[in-house]
Assembly symmetry: C2
Homo-oligomer: 400 residues x 2
Amino acid sequence: MEIIENGSITSPRGFSASGIACGIKAQAPDLALVFSETAASTAGLFTRNKLCAAPIQLSQQHIVGGIARAVLINSGNANACTGDRGLQDARRMAQQLAEIANIPVEQTLIASTGVIGHFLPMDKIEPGIEKAVQQLNAKGGLQAARAIMTTDTRPKSAAIECTIDGKRCRIGAMAKGSGMIHPRLATLIAVFTTDCAIESGLLQQALRNSADKSFNTLTVDGETSTNDCLFFLANGHCGNEPIKTQNADFAVFQSALDKLAVMLARETARDGEGATKLITVTIREAATAKEADRAARAVANSLLVKTAIFGRDPNWGRVISALGASEVSLEPEKIRISFAGISVAVQGRAIDYDTQAMKQALEEAEIEIEASLGAGSADARVYTCDLSYDYIKINADYHT
Amino acid sequence: MEIIENGSITSPRGFSASGIACGIKAQAPDLALVFSETAASTAGLFTRNKLCAAPIQLSQQHIVGGIARAVLINSGNANACTGDRGLQDARRMAQQLAEIANIPVEQTLIASTGVIGHFLPMDKIEPGIEKAVQQLNAKGGLQAARAIMTTDTRPKSAAIECTIDGKRCRIGAMAKGSGMIHPRLATLIAVFTTDCAIESGLLQQALRNSADKSFNTLTVDGETSTNDCLFFLANGHCGNEPIKTQNADFAVFQSALDKLAVMLARETARDGEGATKLITVTIREAATAKEADRAARAVANSLLVKTAIFGRDPNWGRVISALGASEVSLEPEKIRISFAGISVAVQGRAIDYDTQAMKQALEEAEIEIEASLGAGSADARVYTCDLSYDYIKINADYHT
């Protein structure tokens, strides 16, 4: 299993992509298209926000068939809270893509990201779709990754190769953050592609498994968006015997997908709005897996913990306070906490540590916070980022 | 019923107070004492954080007796996560206060606020208690309010007068915020005094009722501290027939207390860390009271909503997204949202509004966000503040 350098959604065979500027945004690419040469098995995960956007509602219908040819994503406008007209606009996007690319409309998937409550500028999107289809190319993965960016500072794109049934199989992915990130079940917007042949039910299962270890353990600001979704297309071009059961091939596929998804989730946390650091929160010795997860999210979502890390302060008091307020079982006298591998509290109390080593460690781009609760044997890990002036700037200046 | 100008915990008869600097903090008052001339009925509410601090544990024991003479509070050090030694230190504080002031130790209440995980400097606190007792005076309410401040920018102090049993009865209060504010049941640190005679069980009930309408509807940053507590002392010096049932006098008392508590809660939200604005979030037409409360807290705790208000942007998309993610019953097509009384969305969609009037309204010091869910008839109101650069500054710079 190996990471492909400069990999993307077009690393797997039989996929092309494009990313163009159609004018929703003033100056930047805002329309991405991912295309499979042949019908692909498909899977998807969607936001649990009750007010899910029009394109989400449409894609949820289309994905039921288990087959897709193309994913079309615009940035700059979420087409959320736009009522019947929003749903009509999403349908029109799908219909036009189907006509121009000559594929069945029910094999299209649509997503949107950006400001909520505004109608899509369909007069710009319609010629945009034509341009995006024209510009489809086998090296377009990175262009597509750029076109789905919102407040991301860099595109998130990667690919991995593994051997399945003796064939070199590839999985590619792109994702966009970087605020409103606190997924449950679904996540931000991400597209996965693979040339592996795999039945759509198993593809769905693999996607869900990986998301639980990656995107679903990610939080930037505790906000779950109206537009989160994650798509996966598998076109079988690598020529393997299709995976139809949870056999050894499935295990290899799952393992490669996990690795890729965690890579992308970490990149998304690292590029969280205003982030200067990636923070990994690991909880150990929780009573149950659910409590481990709740405790980890409580620490990761604590504004006081996030600002402390921005301030390079190993403030374990804020960690322990977040744990205490998280309503999980814990034994105050058994709690141990470390920052960057340096133990700062044991038995729920301060201990001496090498402050010089800590100072250096807190300058690193990645900080690990680890807390053991002494209540059981369940673990959980959550990714987040620090909270800086720039989060405020980005979100106070981002006007409707 | 009327608000007393420059009122404080020493506005009711028979109470004295002091606020002195004993050296826990470098340069500021850090020890507050509230004293009743005679034994007072007492009530209290405490944090639900499982890792509650040593002074909280001690005061929970003392309050069981229903009678108190004095409340001693230090700022600058929370005496939390300090194990057995922390509990011994809290006991010593109580013991010394009892000896110096010549009162029973079980009639003392103790609280601490400040950094977590450090031992109290008992060598400074012991002479401090002596000084605080010496400086007790009938006009010391504001000094005490100053001495409990942490990141508060101003002391929070008020009093109200009402007529009970033909007597002019007063209730005074002080509180401190201003971060780690997200109480459930208990709250920050606040002390209430009254010269009304009222049985301690009813005092507890009145306090809980008022807290549910005031401090428990307050959130600055979603953090519940290890040291939250709220004390109430009633010494009967106004000479009324003691309130022993939920009679008309009780109703008057409750009503005055509600008014005072809401005043202080609003002041605490307004002075939230880095706050430039007080935000009131009102939810209407929720399916149940619990869901109304959950929805209101979801909006009030949304970083994106709070930064939008800091940016003077009526970003209802962020409000609706927070509502959708809050797991309450709602009808997307029935949602109505207003900012500062100006309707911005109906039937879950944008409507035109007077942008000039909105611009002006968002410059005010108080902003009301109102959302109707169309799912029932339950209401809830929560107080919070905007999220500014200064929240980051205060909390990134506040080092352990």
